[in-house]
């Protein structure tokens, strides 16, 4: 843009910049002050040129001063971020476009038939609220024994879930193109194990706390001398899994070793015996039952010495099956 015929400056009003491409210093200026003076002089010329153009722009009066509308800058400078990509249309938008469905403006206040007043469209105490119907008529297709209110609630929940799924799908589509809205980030929470659909189970806090203890048992000393971090809880099971009998038996304890061996032998025999009926056990059970009965009877009838009462002979249960041998181990 020319301002005066002789010097021509390139003026970019949008940036308030002026450039003089024709000026050159003929020789090295003698001193710094001269240089500065020369620069200031030329600078003033350029700034004056910008101001000439600037103040001649149509201005509007404002409270603080005259306001001018600057033209857009002419020098092209690089952007700092890539251009935003347009959002891909969502599933509903595609459907609406295909069907020709247009958006209709909705009123905030709607007439409620039930009460006959004007209520808000959504929110607390809304008009035509579907959850508030007291009676639902049964239809021919309804099964008896089905709760329609519960069904309604379940349907609503399903709808919400479906909506959430669709929203996630739309966001995924946008992310594929690279046009996610700025405040949304999609993050993978847990990836399924390759080859299966199973998502790995989340480890609980307690389990994680025990992991260190479990790893410590693989050390040579069982994790006893490992350095503990501050705040680390002591290992859970310190202990003994086996109890060994004392080498020297004390007085009055009886033969623990004998008991131990007896137990083992009994187990072995009972496992390997082919008797269906354990006669000793049956006899003992019978005796116990009888004694209980006697005690009850004695309590009810007159207290007389037990000695006078005829002792009933013990009747053995007939051992129909198996051998009549009594197997007593000694």
């Amino acid at each position: 843009m020319e301002t005066q015929p002789q010097p021509q400056f390139q003026i970019d009003l949008g940036n308030l910049m002026a450039f003089d491409p024709h000026h050159s210093f003929p020789s090295q200026p003698s001193s710094r002050e001269e240089l500065v003076k020369e620069c200031l002089k030329k600078g003033t010329e350029l700034v004056q040129a910008i101001a000439d153009n600037l103040f001649n722009l149509p201005s509007t009066e404002d409270v603080d001063g005259p306001l001018v509308k600057l033209p857009p800058p002419t020098t092209r400078l690089p952007r700092e971020k890539p251009l935003p990509k347009p959002k891909p249309p969502t599933k509903w938008e595609l459907f609406a476009k295909a069907k020709g469905i247009k958006r209709r403006k909705k009123d905030k206040i709607v007439y409620d038939e039930q009460t006959g007043t004007w209520k808000r469209r959504y929110g607390y105490d809304r008009a035509n609220d579907e959850d508030k119907v007291p009676i639902i008529d049964a239809k021919v297709t309804d099964e008896p024994g089905e709760d329609p209110f519960a069904k309604k609630r379940a349907d609503k929940k399903k709808k919400i879930e479906n909506q959430e799924k669709n929203r996630l799908q739309n966001l995924k589509q946008a992310a594929k193109v690279g046009a996610l809205p700025s405040h949304v980030q999609l993050a993978a929470t847990a990836l399924p194990i390759t080859g299966s659909q199973a998502v790995p189970r989340k480890v609980t806090k307690e389990e994680l706390g025990n992991v260190a203890g479990m790893a410590a048992t693989s050390t040579a000393s069982g994790g006893k001398f490992d350095k503990k971090l501050p705040g680390e809880k002591p290992a859970k099971h310190k202990g003994k899994y086996r109890k060994f009998l004392p080498v020297v038996e004390g007085k009055g304890t009886g033969s623990q070793e004998r008991e131990q061996t007896e137990k083992v032998l009994n187990k072995l025999f009972s496992k390997n015996s082919h008797e269906m009926l354990n006669v000793n056990k049956a006899v003992n059970m019978y005796n116990v039952k009888k004694e209980k009965k006697w005690k009850n009877r004695e309590g009810k009838s007159s207290p007389s010495s037990s000695k006078l009462k005829p002792k009933k002979t013990l009747k053995k249960k007939p051992s129909s099956k198996g051998s009549s041998k009594k197997g007593k181990a000694k």
């Binding site: 949008g14 700034v47 005259p66 971020k81 405040h183």
Partner: protein
């Protein structure tokens, strides 16, 4: 399994929206930092640049050892800082025997290095050494006038690049409306030789002239220094093309309250606000306000004074 992460607070959401890419970009933030060793002169240069760009700059005060903009590995830290602070320009100062008082001015595109210019700083005259009338001091954040003088800026490639970078650094926010009463500073860059640029910052004094356009007077206020161009790196062609892309058409603003009818043509809706019956001015003025009444009162008052004066004279 994907999870949607959205910010929980409104503040976080607004911050993210500020950092999102926009169709039309208006401002670039600058990151000012320094390397392992700096000199006193360099420190003052960095602080003064920070003061000049107060709102739109971030200054790191610690030294950063592994920042070497011109080497291939040393850019990673810069890119990380640019990402975290959302700054697309940086000014990195360092001082060494080989390159004393070194300043690297760089720009980033999409948080990756776009281009770099390395200059040395000489003959610094700091802010404090200038004495001027304090009333002229330019206000912070005002849009500056920028002047480039010298054919070197057109012919020498390094100076061309430097001109572009300096313009980007100093131009401030791109605005549509400018208040003419608020223009008060100017930056003057002069190409003294093929590798030296003299920079000074001046306040503007607008003097009355015969026409609407005031007469401009420059008064040196700010730092003045010499830039000696050392190295530079231009962006690759592909990257440059991508960065220079502009949005072709702006989304047209919807004209409100205007609709087209087939029969009647263009129809506009006019909304009239409610009449405030109690606050309107009455057409008949109140009795006491009428001019004739006021004047009559005045005349009556004078006559009374005369009468009282006369009485006094009489009494005396």
């Amino acid at each position: 399994m994907l999870k949607v992460k959205t910010p929980k607070t409104g503040k976080a959401r607004r911050e993210l929206e500020k950092r999102a890419p926009k169709l039309v970009e208006t401002r670039k933030k600058t990151l000012i930092l320094h390397g392992t060793k700096t000199s006193g002169m360099l420190n003052s240069v960095l602080t003064q640049i920070y003061h000049l760009k107060k709102e739109m700059a971030v200054r790191f005060s610690r030294k950063n050892e592994d920042v070497r903009p011109f080497e291939s590995g040393g850019e990673a830290s810069l890119e990380f800082f640019s990402q975290k602070t959302d700054c697309s320009m940086f000014v990195f100062g360092s001082h060494s025997k080989k390159r004393p008082n070194n300043l690297v001015i760089g720009r980033t595109y999409d948080h990756h290095i776009y281009d770099l210019v390395e200059v040395g700083v000489e003959n610094l005259k700091p802010l404090e050494s200038f004495s001027y009338d304090k009333k002229l001091a330019p206000k912070a954040g005002s849009k500056p006038f920028i002047a480039f003088i010298g054919e070197g800026f057109d012919s020498v490639e390094e100076l061309k690049h430097l001109k572009e970078v300096l313009l980007d650094l100093f131009r401030g926010e791109v605005v549509e409306n400018l208040n003419l009463a608020g223009v008060d500073r100017a930056y003057v860059f002069t190409a003294v030789s093929s590798n030296r640029v003299f920079f000074t910052h001046c306040a503007l004094r607008l003097k009355k002239s015969g026409t609407i356009v005031p007469r401009m007077e420059l008064v040196e206020v700010g730092p003045s220094l010499d830039f000696v161009v050392r190295r530079h790196r231009l962006p690759n062609e592909g990257l440059r093309k991508e960065a220079m892309k502009t949005a072709k058409d702006k989304a047209k603003k919807k004209e409100k309250n205007v609709s087209k009818d087939v029969i009647e043509g263009k129809i506009g809706k006019v909304y009239i606000p409610d009449q405030k019956v109690g606050e309107t001015a009455l057409p008949n003025k109140a009795k006491g306000v009428k001019r004739e009444r006021r004047e009559a009162k005045l005349r009556h008052g004078e006559a009374k004074e005369h009468a009282s004066k006369k009485q006094k004279e009489y009494s005396e």
